[in-house]
């Protein structure tokens, strides 16, 4: 919030400069930006259009040459199949439950831990930080079995717990990311808060977190999307069809001998649509670009 304040303070100065303005230069710059954005967008949106196109193609059109972006005949049967053949509605519910709790856990714990690593100089800090990074360097393929053993001993297999609870202990990736942000926040802010009688937790809660909204939102968005798209852990821990998540649901269309591309693409579209919406809404909180001097002002 105080970020916005800072921004508001500098705005009059920007405006003054602009009034004197190098208008033509600005316009050219703007045009270049748009041209770049639109050209690159075409490149980046292509996969999604193709995905939608394929999801609307009947089976015999799905994989022929030359490959066409759009189907010859539009066929929504694939979408119907997704809901009638597998229980996609239930998978949505499951994915939402798992992802929301996972995000909650990640954000709560990772911010706390990251603050510890970024700002509190305790004995052994560097040692533990190295360990934290180290946990990401061993391929998870070889720890999968022993981790499963633990959850199996706890009787947690075939529940959402193995997918959710570990998140409440923080994720090394996000702890490292948040640490990088916390470390750049001006020290003076903390010091004055300390003099005002704030406890360490108070400083974290009232000063650091509000200043890190873009970072925290980023962490929440990314962790939501990764949990949503992860199929390996749901595959290993969930046994009942009724507990499947969406990402695991998609895999059912990849059979031993045949892949049903049409329904699989339709399922993929349905899986990522909520994410697109979420990202579109979330990106606003990266706030207006302060870094640029252009714009409506």
């Amino acid at each position: 919030m105080s970020m916005e304040l800072a921004e508001a303070k500098v705005k009059p100065a920007v405006k003054a400069r602009k009034a004197r303005g190098i208008k033509a230069g600005k316009r050219i710059e703007r045009i270049i930006t748009y041209v770049l954005l639109i050209t690159l967008s075409a490149l980046f949106i292509f996969p999604f259009l193709w995905l939608i196109g394929t999801s609307l193609k009947p089976e015999n059109e799905a994989m022929t040459f030359p490959p066409a972006l759009l189907p010859k005949e539009w066929d929504f049967a694939n979408y119907k199949d997704v809901f009638t053949i597998v229980d996609f509605g239930q998978y949505y519910v499951n994915s939402i439950i798992v992802s929301i709790f996972a995000v909650l856990g990640t954000v709560l714990s990772s911010t706390l831990v990251a603050y510890g690593f970024a700002r509190i100089k305790g004995k052994g800090r560097n040692f533990w930080f190295m360990i934290l990074l180290g946990t990401m360097m061993l391929p998870p393929q070889v720890t999968m079995i022993p981790v499963y053993m633990i959850f199996s001993k706890l009787g947690w297999t075939n529940t959402f717990l193995p997918l959710i609870v570990p998140q409440f202990f923080g994720s090394a990736y996000f702890i490292f990311l948040l640490r990088q942000f916390f470390k750049t926040i001006p020290k003076e802010l903390e010091e004055s808060a300390f003099l005002d009688g704030c406890s360490t937790f108070g400083i974290f809660w009232r000063i650091i977190l509000p200043l890190s909204v873009p970072a925290v939102i980023t962490v929440a968005l990314l962790s939501f999307m990764w949990t949503w798209n992860d199929f390996l852990y749901p595959l290993i821990y969930l046994n009942d069809d009724a507990k499947y998540t969406l990402a695991l649901g998609i895999l059912q269309f990849k059979g031993a001998l045949l892949v049903q591309w049409g329904p699989m693409m339709a399922a993929s579209v349905l899986v990522i649509l909520p994410l697109i919406l979420l990202f579109f809404l979330g990106q606003k909180y990266f706030i207006q670009g302060i870094a640029t001097t252009g714009g409506k002002g």
Binding site: L112, R119, W128, T143
Partner: protein, 294 residues
């Protein structure tokens, strides 16, 4: 003060510390133990001493091949990914209309499930009618067999990864937000142009996230696996040229039932990544802008 700071530090990292001790440390040590056994993933492990490690270094050509593939991919892919992601973020940090839509579009490739996007890339790189070759021949450049070519399969996979640079972009965007506008003001008063502002303000002030993406890019790149697995239908072809390290490790663990051997491979990779990361910390760590520590 120092003592109580230490106490506070441990209280803050407590959630992670508990998780580490309860859920991570044990399995890591277990896998280290497994690397000295003939464990198959089924049945009982038998202690074999350094046999796995010995075999890896003395008589496993696929270990060297997959390590080379991975290093090639990392050395070219990581810096390229960093630069492309960063430039995209700078572009997407501009103040223009519909920016939300643009940002979403650039992030899309990171959302499409790998099974689906890999199929798309197979078609793009299709030697006979794929878009990649169509573009090349339009400019009268030599075409390629791409994913079927021993020389080009890794560059093709790097191109694929660049297209997902939107993932890193999100983190850069968050970083760009934290650059105080006052610094730009000051630079402008000093008469700095666009480029100097970018180089002297934007880059140093976002070095914290650049460094993050560098380290994580490195760790991630050394463990790259899924894309190559899907486009080569699980065999790392042609002729093992897309068999990346963790891909090979996965085959050993879950296809050939050599979990002990795979664990040894994993710990060797752990050491390699550790060394690379340490070098990055030494070389770049000091150049990262942080607020002064206590």
């Amino acid at each position: 003060m120092n003592k109580s700071r230490t106490f506070q530090f441990y209280m803050f990292i407590l959630p992670w510390l508990i998780g580490f001790l309860a859920l991570t440390a044990g399995p890591m040590l277990y896998s280290l133990y497994m690397s000295f056994t003939d464990y198959s993933g089924l049945g009982v492990p038998n202690w074999v001493g350094f046999e796995n490690y010995q075999k890896i270094f003395s008589s496993d050509p696929l270990f060297w091949q997959s390590l080379w593939n991975t290093i090639f991919y990392t050395v070219f892919g990581v810096p390229l990914g960093l630069i492309v992601g960063y430039l995209l973020a700078v572009l997407l940090n501009a103040n223009v209309r519909f920016m939300g839509v643009f940002r979403t579009i650039f992030y899309l490739p990171s959302l499409v499930p790998t099974v689906a996007s890999s199929l798309l890339w197979i078609i793009i790189f299709q030697p006979d009618f794929g878009i990649a070759n169509a573009v090349l021949s339009f400019f009268h450049l030599p075409t390629s067999n791409w994913l079927l070519s021993e020389q080009m399969v890794k560059p093709a996979l790097i191109i694929m990864s660049l297209w997902g640079a939107g993932g890193g972009m999100v983190i850069y965007l968050a970083g760009l937000q934290s650059v105080p506008a006052s610094l730009y003001e000051a630079a402008e008063l000093d008469g700095a142009g666009k480029f100097r502002k970018f180089w002297n303000v934007t880059v140093p002030m976002t070095s914290n996230v650049i460094f993050f993406n560098l380290i994580m890019g490195l760790i991630g790149s050394f463990q790259i696996f899924t894309q190559a697995y899907v486009v080569s239908s699980g065999n790392g072809g042609p002729n093992y040229k897309s068999l990346f390290y963790v891909f090979y490790l996965y085959q050993d663990a879950f296809k050939f039932f050599k979990m002990g051997y795979a664990s040894a491979l994993a710990w060797i990779l752990f050491i390699i990544i550790l060394i690379f990361t340490a070098i990055q910390f030494k070389v770049f760590g000091s150049k990262v802008y942080y607020e002064h520590d206590e």
